[in-house]
Amino acid sequence: MLKYNKELGLQHTLALSFFVIIALPVLIFFVLLIQSKRAFLEVGLGLLSTSWFPAGQEYGILAMLYGSAVVVILALAIAVPLSLLSALALTEFVPKSLQLTIKSILEILAGVPSIIYGLLGIVILCPWLEQVFDISTGRTLFAGGLLLALMILPMMISLFEDVFSQIPHEFRDNSSSLGLNKSQIILALILPISKYPCFNIILLAMSKALGETMAIMLVIGCVDKFPNFWLPLSAGQTVTSKLGRDLGNYSFHSIEFSVMIAMALILLIPTIIFSFVLKKRELVR
């Protein structure tokens, strides 16, 4: 029998933490699977319709999935280039004295609760969109996308900056001694080296955007229909907004509850697929 010393104790504590961390997502996945079983068995392909009308036994969730996809794609399209360029500016061009101040401001912004963004959306963003695009209401998928972009920006800039600043300065010095100027250094050295960490950051931002509930719920318009014309400029619905508003209205074992859990399960799928693909490519290279 080994003496139970600090070494062994530490090993066991770490092993315990490890198993808890692994077990939690797996358990969540299985709970979601079990709760949504009823939806997949009873409604099945009926889920793939655009008509959500529980009173008429119609449980089509396509409108919500489409809304989530549009909002996240829009947010990433706006936020990824913006945050990449900002982070590069922060590491390569901003003087050292300002860097710490700007980083602190970013950390503060990243910690702002999402309901604040939602309220700012209703009070500032939506009326502004109504004026600019001359539409009847600013509560649209576009507003949702813009707001999400705003929410994931600080976190992304901060993380990109961490990645870029960890590249040793010797690399940059070597490159410039070979005759490369600033922009060539960025394109030929910094971006290729940090390719995989950057993709991981984008993946993190994507899953954060997919799961955002409170802010989206207030600005999206919550209309359970496929938007018709001017796609992003009409009100829509996302999975998280639907869950946030309507989940409490349905009793625990009802079919509507099960369909909602099925929606949540489907929402997990892009994140899972992308992380597996990313990990595989990272390991293969």
Partner: protein, 280 residues
């Protein structure tokens, strides 16, 4: 080692402090009944300081659901409970106690009201919600797209309104542009917009949100006010109800609060908030 022990002590302490408090009345449900309960609870707590009243909103659907799941003591509901809901919770025996009456009024943005649209009949409102009338110019006003505001399907206000204009409380409103929840949200949205129409509880009207009078079949225009609601002339009236589960023994604190609401003091609060008291 010291920090590990400190951490364990704090976590353990936090877990221990999570005990259920002694006298709590948990209430949740309709956002229409909410102002009455909030004000009454504040007054009641002054009289009975040892009782805590926790109030949440979420809509009539939440009120029914949470009573069925035995999560709350009183559910607030601003419509009748449906057969499906009764069947969804076989172990619960719902009883509704009416604490007041309220009207659901169609509301329009100030700019629309000032252009002269002060009354509509139920059919026209129905057509707007069905999507058949899409522009204010079809009603004789300046050309502007109608912003049709609806509420979540489980909200009491919506079900009562839809029954009146579309004939079915669960009707699909195809022409809807925006779906909101709380009465508060509808009020904000109508005030912010210049071309909106929506449904609101009578007590939530404000200077920026104007109610339309309803033209009935004889062509008479019926404005929503205390007289027309009391006499039953206004077509869209509903009761403000509180749900309890009579299958379980009634908590004396809950009973006392319900009695307070039905007493002179409670009904004075109902009147003060522009709802109609029960005896009227």
């Amino acid at each position: 080692m010291f920090f590990l022990r400190l951490y364990l002590l704090i976590t353990f302490g936090l877990f221990c402090s999570c005990q259920s408090p002694e006298a709590v009345i948990r209430i949740a449900g309709s956002s229409t009944v909410l102002p009455v309960i909030e004000k009454a609870a504040a007054a009641y707590s002054k009289l009975h300081p040892h009782i805590r009243i926790q109030i949440n909103t979420g809509g009539s659907g939440i009120g029914v659901n949470q009573i069925g799941l035995d999560k709350i003591d009183i559910g607030m509901i601003s419509r009748d409970i449906s057969v499906d809901e009764i069947q969804a919770f076989p172990k619960t025996d719902f009883k509704t106690i009416i604490v007041g009456k309220d009207a659901v009024v169609p509301v329009v943005s100030n700019e629309i009201y000032e252009q002269g649209l002060i009354e509509l009949d139920l059919n026209t409102i129905g057509d707007i919600y069905r999507g058949k009338i899409k522009n204010w110019q079809d009603l004789g006003l300046k050309p502007n797209e109608i912003l049709v505001i609806d509420k979540e399907a489980s909200r009491g206000t919506r079900q009562v309104f839809m029954k009146a204009i579309l004939g079915n409380k669960n009707a699909r409103a195809i022409g809807v542009d925006l779906v909101l929840g709380h009465n508060n949200e509808v009020q904000t949205a109508i005030a912010q917009s210049q071309q909106a129409i929506g449904m609101l509880s009578f007590a939530w009207l404000s200077p920026e949100v104007k109610a339309l009078a309803i033209k009935n079949i004889q062509g008479q225009s019926i404005q929503a006010n205390l007289t027309t609601i009391k006499l039953g002339k206004y077509p869209i009236v509903r009761s403000l109800g509180l749900l309890i589960d009579v299958n379980k023994p009634l908590n004396p604190d809950v009973e006392s609060f319900l009695n307070y609401l039905l007493s002179e003091a409670g009904q004075a609060i109902v009147r003060e908030l522009k709802y109609i008291p029960v005896d009227a």
